[in-house]
Amino acid sequence: MLVLHLTVANLKMILRNRQALFWALAFPLVFVFVFAMIGSFSRSSAVTVGVVDRAKDDASRQLLSGLDAFDVVMRDDEAQARLDARSGDLGYLLIVPERLASLARDAPPASVTLVYEEGRQGAVALAVERALARMDLALAGVSPKFALNTESLASDDLSFAQLALPGLVLWGIMSNSIIGMAVVLANYREKKIFRRIKVSPMRARTFFAAQVMAYLALSLAQAAAIFGIGAAVMRVDLSGNLLAIGLLIVACNIVFLNLGFIVGAFSKTAAAASGLGNLVVLPMVMMSGVFFPLDVLPRIVAAVTRFLPLSPMVEALRGVAIGSKALSDFPLEIALIAAWLALTSMIAVRIFKFE
């Protein structure tokens, strides 16, 4: 079969172009690492609790055990600790007076102080209150009759990194497929390889199919690598169905390759193909929810960008790969992707010539 032979030849050419191959992988991975760093930075700064413990008795130890879930830093210098809380280096500052246990017994109520930025609410203040209430009950010799169980909603409560990873995967295969394909076609045109093919009996559809198959294989490998490395570095749990993820990526990538064919058809030189390809890729990356949710865009802009090919892809891949949803949960997105698939295929096949 000529088409298979040609696909293998195309893959050889792709794999032997080491520099292009390296950047196809390295570029999205650089962003994986950057996003992983941003993610870990925001997590640690949110929950640092400074504690000035003057009591160091049973009561203070009991109180502090209630803060196990947080990043607790013991401080001696109250003045300095207050400055750090004011500057934001400490998220919260808990001040425990001397002889806490005896104060509670002899001159109740014994009060502790929690310093935090106005408007900042949350888990730390609640935890301190709960610990104090428990200590009250214990002191009164009453065993608790009610208890609060907390459950965090892991599947809905997605971190920034988790949200970003599917978008980074799509961005990686998209830029490689659109720009890579367009540059190859323009290069064939510039070097008159197309003319040489045109005087041979090869059919345009054979050439087309072999290009698409070679780039699909590359994109699947690329997606697996970015997903794999990203999941490890960002500590993302990839709980989705691999078959659904694969199908979605294949469908998305054919749209990208069609766009690459279209860009390539309009580019006289490889340099022009690279520029025009970026013109197609960059606005989609910016406006399709890869880096930030569509909700933050002005309503009119969002209404338009929602229909760009990348937007439904990011939405569906995010749900299927990270949120453990099924493809059937995204009927609108799948319909949009199918529409883009049909439209771009039609244009690409019609526009492509060995010229």
Partner: protein, 306 residues
């Protein structure tokens, strides 16, 4: 002999530019047919119309008994094409490129034999970028022969090559003719057309101004022979002008005379008689015949230079 290609009233217009203007000729089986002309004469456009790369504005072309436009696919299987300045895939070896093209033509891959025939067997595992200019041209010839074609098109096969590389390419073209293939080639080198081609069409400004064997093209000129002589004394040109078949006498360098003759076999005996009668002796005598370059100059009114 049968006509392998026939071109009738071929015209190709690009906007206002008339690249090929009502050109007709036919190419016989087994011959090396040359299209000679300066850059921009329409040689490549003519060739690409026959190859099926360019759609003619008007005219009919038949190749190997088939209509070039209607049976384009069948024609492509039986012709071999070397395009001017065309490259091949960057990241494939010579063997891989030839194997791929063998698949495209659905024929058995004989890459080793092809590379041996063009002297590139040692570069079989190399990529195109590792080859010199002459090696590249030889490789494009090998690639044009992948499908064992009956008719081979070569578009300026030696353009930009040094003399040695050019000679080695000529040998390849001669070998093709010996294998019984018909070759249609363009060139703007006179000596290439003279030494390689059985027949030459001289093209200028989109038209064919002459078509014949190189020898007949020269012979068809009115007085293609030149006799240069010098005498041991001083005399006028009138006696020489009166000699048989002499059409013109001009002064050469160092007091020599240059006679234009339509037939030296008549002029030379007459010259001998005249020398005996007049008492002069020859101090110098050269007889030569114009080249294709002179014929080209006479036909087109301009020199053939890059």
């Amino acid at each position: 002999m049968a006509d392998v290609a026939r071109v009738e009233s071929l015209t190709k217009r690009y906007g206002d530019l008339l690249a090929v203007d009502d050109v007709s000729f036919s190419v016989r089986e087994g011959e090396v047919f040359g299209i000679l002309g300066p850059n921009g004469a329409g040689k490549t456009t003519t060739l690409e119309c026959i190859e099926g790369l360019v759609t003619p504005t008007a005219g009919a072309i038949s190749v190997l008994g088939m209509d070039a436009a209607r049976d384009a696919d069948a024609v492509k299987r039986r012709i071999g094409v070397q395009l001017q300045a065309s490259a091949y895939f960057d990241y494939l070896t010579l063997t891989e490129i030839l194997d791929l093209f063998a698949r495209i033509y659905d024929c058995a891959a004989a890459s080793a034999d092809l590379l041996r025939s063009v002297g590139l067997v040692d570069s079989a595992g190399a990529t195109m970028e590792k080859l010199s200019g002459g090696q590249r041209q030889r490789f494009t010839i090998a690639a044009a022969l992948v499908n064992d074609p009956d008719l081979v098109f070569l578009d300026e096969p030696t353009a930009g090559l040094d003399p040695q590389a050019r000679r080695s390419l000529w040998d390849l073209v001669s070998a093709m003719a010996q294998d019984g293939r018909t070759v249609i080639m363009t060139t703007h080198y006179i000596e290439e057309a003279e030494s390689l081609c059985d027949r030459v069409a001289i093209m200028d400004r989109g038209r064919i101004v002459a078509l014949d064997t190189p020898r007949n093209l020269v012979r068809s000129m009115s007085d293609p022979h030149r006799i240069t002589l010098a005498l041991d004394g001083v005399c006028g040109a009138d006696g020489l002008r009166a000699l048989r078949s002499v059409t013109d006498v001009t002064a050469g360098d160092d007091g020599a005379f240059v006679l234009r003759s339509s037939d030296p076999t008549e002029t030379v005996p007459a010259l001998t008689r005249w020398l005996a009668e007049s008492g002069f002796a020859l101090t110098r005598l050269e007889i030569d015949t114009d080249t294709l370059e002179d014929a080209f100059l006479a036909l087109t009114g301009r020199e053939l230079r890059e």
